[in-house]
Each structure stands twice: as C-alpha cells, then as structure tokens.
Amino acid sequence: MLSFALVSCQTEKTAKKYPNTVGDIEFDEKLDDADFKKCGSEKWGHFSFQYYQGSKEYGYKGEKIAIVEKLKKENIYSENKIDGYITVRFLVNCEGKTGLFRLQHMSPDLKETVLDEELENRLLQFTKSLDGWMPKEIKGLKVDYYQYLTYKIENGKVSEVLP
C-alpha cells in the first residue's frame, strides 16, 4: 500500500509509457467539447473511476434494455455485410453528462480495423445522444467515471450491446 503511495507521488514527475490508469482519456481540443468538465470530488483527488467501481448497478436509467430499445428505433445498420466490434469509451461526469468519446473498431478476432466509416460514425453519434447515464457516488461523494459500450456487428447489424 505504501509502495503505491510512493510511486503515485512520483507519477507526474516523469514521462510514462502508460497513462496513470489504463484507459485514461486526455482532453483533445480537436475532438472534445470544451464545455465538458470533469467535476469529481476533490476528496478523491479528482480521480476518474471505472463503471464497475462503487455501485454494482448498471448506471443507465431504465437499465441496458433502454439503450437497446433506443438503438432499435434508430435502425442503424450497414449495407455491407460486415462482422466485428465497435467500442465507444467515454467519461460520465459527476452531473451525469458525457464527454471525451473515443472509438475503437475491431475485426471479429479483435484486430484493429475500419469496419464501415458511416456505421461507426452513426454509432458514435448514437452513443453521444444517450442522456440517461446516472452520476456515481462513492462513499457519498460524486465522482466521474469511465463507461464504454461495445456494439457487436453481425452481417452489418448490431447483434449485441455490451457490457
């Protein structure tokens, strides 16, 4: 425990091969909305948690099925009969607002590859449109947390929304 505290103190002094925590997303003025702010509790050192830390409930109003049903209504698919995965990661801030969206596209065997730019963009926009993410509290303090959605694509259609 102490060793962690020591290395943690040195974290910002030296250039690192890895981000402070795996999956940390840095603000990029070319990609990100300048109005989106991190606002997690100072008492947690403004640390951005992961979706699985703290509350064990899925953090979307109406549960995951609400996302799946909204997606069905949008009828997003590709004319190309492609297979693979599209993941969108993002940060949910202490107010339940989302930002810092990053997309990863993969072949069925998880090799990075473009599947269909239009489909990817539509799924990115769909993810950005989701407004039911609930703010997370840890020990009574509001925090920011990373969330992701992975869309499994089969024959050009979304067959599963994960996790």
Binding site: Y52, I65, T87, Q104, T150
Partner: protein
C-alpha cells in the same frame, strides 16, 4: 490533512477491493530471474490498472519472458476497461505460453465480455484436451466452463446440444453445481418448447437459489398454459426490486431479464 489521508486510504482500499488479485507462491518458481519476476508480478497485481503496475509486468516479462501470468494480469485492466484490441494481443501471448492455464479464462471472457460464442467454444474445446473430465469454473465462479460451452451452443441455435451438455453434467458424480445451472437449462428447454422440462428446472432452481429471472420464466410458462400467471409476475417484480437478480460486476449475464420485460409480460 488527516481527512485527506483517510480518503486516500479509502480510495486505495476501494481499488484493491475491486481488483481480482491472483497471488502466486514464488518459492515454487524455478530460476532466480523468474523468481524475481514472480515477486514483481505479485506486487503489480495489487495495483491492477495503474501505470506502475503495467510497468511492473513489463519488467517481469523482461526478466522471465515465459512467465505467462504476467501477460495475463497485464491484460486484465484492458479487458475491464473495454480496450479489447490490446487485451487480445496480451492474452494470446499468455495462452501461447501456457494454453493449459489460460484457455479457460480466455474462453470464458470471449463468452462473457464479447458474446463471441464460436470463439468461446473453440477455446473450451481445446481446453478439454487438457482436462477431459472437469473444465473448471468461470472467472466469476458462477458456472462450470462446460455450462459456458452449453450456453454458447444455445446462443448459436444448437439448443438440444446445449441441454444435453448441462444434463450430462448435472448427472455426473461429484459435479459441483453452478449458481444458475438449472435456470440456464430451464431457459434452453423453454426455447425448445419443452415446458415440462423447463418448469422442472425452474422449480429446482427455486429451491437452490431463487431470483427474479427464474420466477419470470415460471410465470411465462403459466401464461403459455393459460394458467394464472399474475401472482408469479408480481412476485418476479417484487424480487427484482429487492435486488435478487442475475448480477455481474463487469457485464450482464446470459439470459438476463430486465424489469421492463417482466412488467410487459
């Protein structure tokens, strides 16, 4: 200052509590460098997900390139955080070095995190060559990995095969049941239209561990048979609200049912 330290300690405890820690007895590891790598691995596993941890695994791999656990543990935070490309590169290395140790985990993960049913079956079939009897448990402890094979076949439409695998397991001497075995078998029979067998399994599940999804399916069988199903439906909703549902920290269970689906029954 004191207050900050208290929060900082809570924070560390929370992170460590959340992580799966797989400590190894390094005295059993042969070779000085590999012993050092093992100790580094134990240290880094405690700090899962942090930069220092990932660097620790890198050092361990440098010292002992065949130490498969270092690749495996280095991969875990990428999996949990949704970076499947990086996870796959690392977990494949672990499997290549020691398939007997890591095939089960990779197979389970393909099923649970990616719904890659074919990939899961491939890995678990390969694992059978090493463990023809008992494949062991899923990482979350809920299932025997043969039940994971069965659920994968079920998802691919091979429901008779899926039911056969679970029936065989349940009949096997010394088999330790998983938390949701009868439920998953019941749902498979339900999907086959074999409602007697489905109900039989939902009843068995009720006696061992009951939860909202199981009651929902009992209610569905009653509705199909034109019997009173509303009491069961209400009980399913009540049980759901009490939090007795299929839960997983990182993902959703196969055949999970949502509250809205119960409401709409």
């Amino acid at each position: 200052m004191e207050k900050f330290q208290r929060y900082y300690l809570s924070f560390l405890l929370l992170i460590v509590y959340t992580n799966t820690i797989a400590q190894v007895n390094c005295n059993a590891v042969e070779g000085e460098n590999c012993k050092k790598a093992c100790e580094l691995y134990n240290w880094a596993s405690d700090l899962q997900g942090f930069a220092e941890s990932q660097e620790g695994f890198d050092k361990a791999i440098e010292l002992c390139p065949d130490f498969s656990l270092a690749y495996m543990e280095k991969a875990v935070p990428y999996l949990k955080n949704g970076d499947f490309v990086t996870w796959k590169i690392l977990i494949d290395k672990a499997v290549a070095l020691d398939p007997q140790m890591h095939l089960g985990y990779r197979g389970w993960t393909k099923f649970q995190f990616l719904r890659d049913y074919k990939g899961a079956i491939q890995d678990l079939d390969q694992l059978k060559k090493y463990y023809p009897g008992d494949l062991g448990r899923s990482q979350n402890g809920d299932y025997n990995l043969d039940v994971v094979r069965a659920m994968s076949y079920s998802a691919l439409g091979q429901k008779e095969k899926a039911a056969g695998i679970i029936e065989k397991l349940l009949a096997a001497r010394g088999y330790v049941k998983g938390m949701f075995d009868h439920y998953q078998l019941g749902v498979t029979y339900f999907e086959l239209g074999r409602y007697d067998k489905a109900l039989e399994n939902f009843e068995k599940q009720s006696k061992e561990y009951n939860f909202a999804e199981n009651i929902y399916f009992k209610s569905k069988v009653s509705k199909i048979r034109n019997k009173d199903y509303l009491d069961l439906k209400m009980l399913a909703l009540q049980t759901y609200d009490e939090g007795k549902t299929m839960k997983d920290v990182y993902t959703h269970h196969f055949n999970k049912v949502y509250r809205k689906e119960i409401e709409e029954l």
